[in-house]
Amino acid sequence: MKRSKTLALLSMTLLLAACGEKGAATLDRGADPKLPAPQRGLLPSMKIAEPSAWGDQKPTVPQGYSVTAIATDLKIPRQTLVLPNGDIIVAEGRGGSAAKLKPKDVIAGYIKAQGNTKVKGGNRLTLLRDADGDGRYEVQSVFAENLNAPYGLAFANNKLYVANQDALVSFDYQEGQTQASGAPVTVTQLPSEINHHWTKALTVSPDGRYLYVGIGSNSNITERGMEAEVDRAMVWQIDAATGAYKPYATGLRNPTALAIQPGTGQLWSVVNERDELGPDLVPDYLTSVREGGFYGWPYSYWGQNVDPRVKPENPKKVAAAIKPDYSLGSHVAALGLDFSEASMGEKFADGVFVGEHGSWNRSDPVGYKVIFVPFNNGRPAGEPIDFVTGFRDADGKTRGRPVGVTVDPRGALIVADDLANTVWRVTRNR
């Protein structure tokens, strides 16, 4: 009771402060978003999800599709992987050990925690199996445990690769296993000091030779010091055989999901951009990731737009910054990415699915859904289409928050929901 009063007071204060920052009614998405001038009131706009149970309700999917919960009561599911035999691996955990450096970190941390699950992260992998193909995943087995906030998952070379928050590890895998046969082997250590953005996204090249790991920045916009940003805000290319690594692309603030485009072998990423520049800055984006490319963070955003909060400046880096391919809208918090295929149905066959965890730094919340970005000739083309919605209703009640999205070649989309601790499966009706 007392806490709810405090919260109400807090949110009133924040709402008051946010009045000056009214965002556009619709998100500016696509290749060429309009970028308003930066703005920031005395307090940042904050609107936090009010967690609420699903009960009998389910997410909304397009006509001709159905959705079912194939696993519930998980321990913070983040990313999923479909193995060759159709089994699904779910990575569960919560990471980060960022110290609270300012009074602000204490207060904002408390407020943001209200919009997340209270469950303790599992630090494990769970395997789900539907042996008879009836859409019911009757086997739910702990594949491996005692991991350190596992997030990114990939399968190649008869190995299951897992990106923990501090290391890339692998498990030997034989088809049909429901449990790892031994302890994981470390492929290489990953940057893990502070881990402000702790999630390590992962994908593998089609030939299995290289692994790509997305490493988020150690701050919103260098407020933990430039020293903390060594080896951060970049994608590493790691040799699967030796563990040798190099930065593959840099200046990507928080590359939360990586995927290889079928056919071309091109690496793509969704990236979460910086906060506290207003409701319509800075767009989170979907982009092809060029080897050696620099994408702006921290010096600039969306190409050459200089961020005045970063000192000392670096005009050379600003000039070199690549403009991303496709805006997903500011603050949507894209955390999942996968390429679709023909089995998803004609309308959704060519393009990517993107899981949007949802905003905090916007008085009019955005995200909280899974969208489909259509492609044409291998490039994003046209307006995104809502694919899974209903996670948050108009009065702020939030039942779920999508994270990882994975296309099951059998014609289904697997969506991890880290608020309801559920894995959803969206299938085409036949």
Partner: protein
């Protein structure tokens, strides 16, 4: 020529020990914040800015409690003018601008500047003035 000696009323007495600690204690805290802000603007080393944030928070805590004493003082004062009023208003201004400065310092990296430094200067001058007046209860309004 017959001077009338009366006991000083409480509101005309110098601040008591606790009140004095709170009031005088805020001065070095706000001064420290100012010095750290200067260091941050000269070096871009973020740690100075973090120090400034905490020093402001500490200054606000002490100054806020001293403000309660000042308020009680003012309520008991007859008439409610002169030193008790000046002292209260100066301390109130310190607290309000200090709070705004705390929010300013909650911005990320260089977004704190230059507003944070300017506010720190003003807040430091205000707390010095408030403390000066606070420790001189016979200032102003005394005949």
């Amino acid at each position: 020529m017959t001077p009338v000696t009366t006991a000083n009323p409480a509101y005309r007495s110098p601040p008591g020990a606790l009140h004095a600690i709170l009031l005088a204690g805020s001065v070095p805290l706000f001064l420290g914040a100012l010095l750290n802000d200067i260091a941050y603007s000269n070096t871009y080393q973020i740690q100075w800015s973090n120090f400034a944030s905490w020093l402001i928070a500490g200054g606000l805590l002490l100054c806020g409690l001293a403000l309660l004493f000042a308020l009680v003082n003012l309520v008991r004062a007859r008439p409610k003018t002169g030193q008790p009023l000046t002292y209260f208003l100066l301390l109130l201004a310190t607290f309000v601008l200090g709070l705004i400065n705390a929010f300013q310092h909650a911005k990320d990296a260089w977004a704190v500047m230059p507003g944070g430094l300017i506010l720190s200067v003003i807040v430091f001058i205000l707390i010095c003035a408030a403390t000066w007046v606070g420790f001189n209860p016979r200032m102003g309004g005394v005949k």
